[in-house]
Amino acid sequence: MRRQLPLVLGVLGGAALAVTGFRALAALPGAGHVPHPYGERAVADAFHHDTANAVVAVTLDQRGFDTLGEELILLAAAIGTVLLLRRLTAEAEEDAPHEYGPGEIFEGVRLVGYVLLPVTLLVGGYVVLHGHLSPGGGFQGGTVLASALYLAYLAADHRTLERLRTAGLLDTAEGLGAFGYVAIGLAGLVAGSGFLADWLPTGTVRDLRSSGTLPLLNVSIAVEVGAAFVLVVAKFLEQAILVPREEAS
């Protein structure tokens, strides 16, 4: 009996969750058809600020402060990962005769990497810069741009990535991206509109130069997200592909 108790509780709880969950799902308004008070206000405000993509208007304009939190969480996570995966002195001594092994990459993979690299860079840049006009934005574009760097890693070799990483460019970009978002927000205080409130002319809707500060915020987010993504995966790569020197040659 005692052993069956968790099972009975689990079945009862699961059944209750299924019933209430499906009832709640059935009561949800249909997607994209039924007007909703929040949706109406959000879209009206987006048009007021000449932002064609209402989603970005919500995330960066109406709720820009939440996005600041998200961005700083990502910054903290990236710093934490880099700190945890650093090579300690003891580890470095133990692994002293180690280096990076030669890459054994199929020619076909290399070719795909070369072909896709410029396409990915272009798509990433487009998604970032047109975030306020069409589906896109800094977070999405940043991850696309970061995956372009991994195509470079596949097409060339790890030394390319290693050179980029050790140049300190990524660390700087990571910090600058996060700083940029806060700086644009603070500039709103100086300009008199309030923290993270729009302080640039909003331009004409559907123009590349519209929506005030949103394109700038998107660029700073893309830099931060892209750098964080590359930094974290590069740290894992560094830990995994380090091999003893005799194996490497």
């Binding site: 997607a31 696309v144 995956s147 993504f229 894992f236 790569l237």
Partner: protein, 92 residues
């Protein structure tokens, strides 16, 4: 038509997500997770969010499984090395 595609994708999402949970070996799980990420990305595409689909494919299909595989490789090497060291110290 669109509702049908979405329905199929949602069922596929549930099936692949269950497959991820039921796969016990972490290395295989990373591959199944990658497939699940791809299905999730296609679902987002069907829901008219192509940008989120792109980043989902970048993160869920490529980066997270890659990190898992790299971590497994690193752990296995560490265990092998300590095993080697243990063998060497035994004859003493």
């Amino acid at each position: 038509m669109n509702a049908w595609i979405l329905g199929v994708l949602l069922v596929l999402t549930a099936v692949t997500a269950t497959a991820v949970v039921l796969t016990r070996d972490p290395g295989r799980q990373a591959a199944v997770l990658s497939a699940y990420g791809l299905v999730l990305g296609m679902t987002m595409l069907a829901l008219a969010a192509p940008d989120v689909a792109l980043s989902q494919i970048g993160v869920g299909t490529a980066a997270v499984p890659l990190i898992v595989v790299l971590a497994i490789a690193r752990c296995e090497r560490a265990t092998n090395r300590s095993r080697e060291r243990g063998d060497r110290s035994e004859p003493r």
